[in-house]
Symmetry: C2
Subunit: 346 residues, 2 copies
């Protein structure tokens, strides 16, 4: 199938073309950047919502419920589940996927698990590119679920317009040890499995931690502001302070029973409205496009150095000297780069 | 302190200079590549041993015991503990470090935890470079402990001459789900906490898995070959087959009681002897130097593109068009790279 045909089938909403286009992008097959370039003008319509949190927090169940809520609102929904390769814990993920069966047969729902190994330009970039394909194909809600934990999840979360951090009452003890950057990325908190003991306590801990970490900006707001913020959402108002800043609401939910999901969906809407009104949406998307461009430059530069130039052969020819200690890897690398800078083929 | 002074102090074995040199390398401070280039000829004397495995396998205890065993043999020992940033599980690691106190006061033991964030050239490269510093400083045994799990651990393990995979009886159920690449990197297996039920069963499972995964090469050896291989080690012989291939021994250990540690140390010696005799040591180190050189080229290329050229400004100037959908990130990136290829400053 040629590229133009793929593009027109994709725009016509053909599922087979969609699956094919995503594969092309995910595996960096020939022509993938041309495809992405061609659809660039069709992107920017979907709301991208990242769902992250520690294993066992019930993210998949929550995502499944959110999908249903979005479908009830008439939206076409895509789910991208990302599993940063964890060689020692490969077991549990398939189960999560299977559980999503209740929505998997709906043709306006598209679910995709991302294999993450060997992605050329980094996991986050590839994920963002897959979201672009879904966006161009007309899905107007994209849920980006990161299964597992790690720096790569934070990077993936930055691909979203709105990021939801899902915790469970048991996370209480661990919240102080969350590395910096984790709390800060969340626009909305969910304390899931809130029918277990400690849910309210965790909510308060989140508030305290936010207050401390965000340079005291939240110190002067009353206790339970997260709960208050969420009550405002429930009442149809946005949790935005007099200074125009967004106060991350902390929602209690029992996703397995569907409790708190409607409210969460409303909080997501409220956050999106705030993003638009405050100009933050434009800013976030612009930042993403800037980072994307940088990544593509890095990718293209690596292709140039390793595929088009003869840098590999050059290095290979010097290996005897390097192994014998007569030249260092740094000497050889410097020679290669100097030559590249001259604009000659190495 | 200037670079030459640092270098001579490092060679004179001054601990303060060592700590400083490692910091310079770890944080890619100005002059770090010159330093690494200067010490390149002093490297290659240390044996680098990677210790990896799932959390809770008792790696730190095993490492501590190994340090004592190496010290008893008169060696100077360095431990590099790597913790790939895991934002949701930041708690347990400090405890591990503290437990290593029994050897921490010995001045011929150097223990270093690696912060991994923001390392310019990738975690594995930086770790390898820190090992080079320790090697040049005269440590002849370097233990590379990877705390946690993930692709980055596999990459780090590849920095070692010998890799030890530590499992526990409870790993039994999970071993079938270990992603490919995990079993294959191990030169020596340790079933730690072997006083718990299931240790012997796990050993057999490891053998079966190895037999299947290594293209049946081990299919024709008797059952319990891992145990047999280990008995050969104990008897002072190497577990090397008639074809000259190394059979990974599977050691049972209870590191907390010191059981099995002497035997493990002997297996490590046997493996190193095999590496030398088979020519595999030269090959592995040559491969590492080749990869290192490639990484340094990538790093230098990125510095050129982002620090020395004006690519950032170029991209920034086009962002209005990109945000409006009139140009794609791929268009802009292609222009930048084309200009770089011309050898001009962007």
């Amino acid at each position: 199938m040629n590229a133009e045909r793929l593009l027109s089938d994709l725009r016509a909403g053909q599922t087979a073309a969609l699956a094919r286009a995503i594969s092309v992008v995910e595996n960096a097959r020939p022509g993938f950047e041309q495809l992405l370039s061609a659809i660039h003008g069709d992107t920017g319509r979907a709301r991208r919502i990242g769902i992250t949190g520690p294993p066992g927090a019930g993210k998949s169940t929550l995502v499944e419920r959110l999908v249903s809520a979005f479908r009830a609102g008439g939206h076409r929904v895509a789910v991208v589940a990302v599993d940063p390769t964890s060689p020692f814990t490969g077991g549990a993920l398939l189960g999560d996927r299977i559980r999503m069966e209740s929505v998997a047969l709906d043709r306006d729902v598209y679910i995709r698990s991302m294999a993450t190994r060997g992605s050329l330009g980094g996991l986050a970039t590839t994920t963002g590119e897959v979201c672009d394909v879904l966006d161009a194909a007309g899905f107007d809600r994209i849920l980006l679920e990161t299964v597992g934990v790690g720096q790569s999840e934070l990077d993936v979360a930055r691909m979203a317009d709105t990021t939801v951090l899902v915790l469970v009452p048991e996370s209480g003890d661990g919240i102080q040890t969350l590395k910096s950057g984790v709390m800060e990325i969340a626009d909305v908190f969910v304390v899931n499995k809130a029918d277990r003991p400690g849910a309210e306590k965790l909510r308060q801990e989140i508030e305290v931690t936010l207050g401390i970490r965000r340079g005291n900006a939240l110190r002067n707001v009353p206790a339970h502001h997260g709960a208050l913020a969420f009550r405002r959402v429930r009442a149809g108002a946005a949790p935005v302070g007099a200074d125009g800043r967004w106060t991350p609401p902390v929602a209690l939910a029992v996703a397995a029973k569907g409790e708190g999901v409607e409210e969460l969906a409303r909080a997501l809407d409220a956050h999106f409205d705030w993003l638009v009104a405050s100009g933050e949406l434009d800013e976030r998307r612009r930042r993403r496009l800037f980072e994307r461009t940088r990544e593509v430059v890095d990718r293209a530069t690596r292709r140039w150095v390793w595929d088009e130039s003869h840098a590999d052969r050059w290095i290979q020819e010097r290996m005897d000297e390097v192994a014998a200690g007569r030249a260092s890897p740094y000497d050889v690398a410097a020679e290669v780069v100097e030559t590249l800078k001259q604009g000659e083929r190495v």
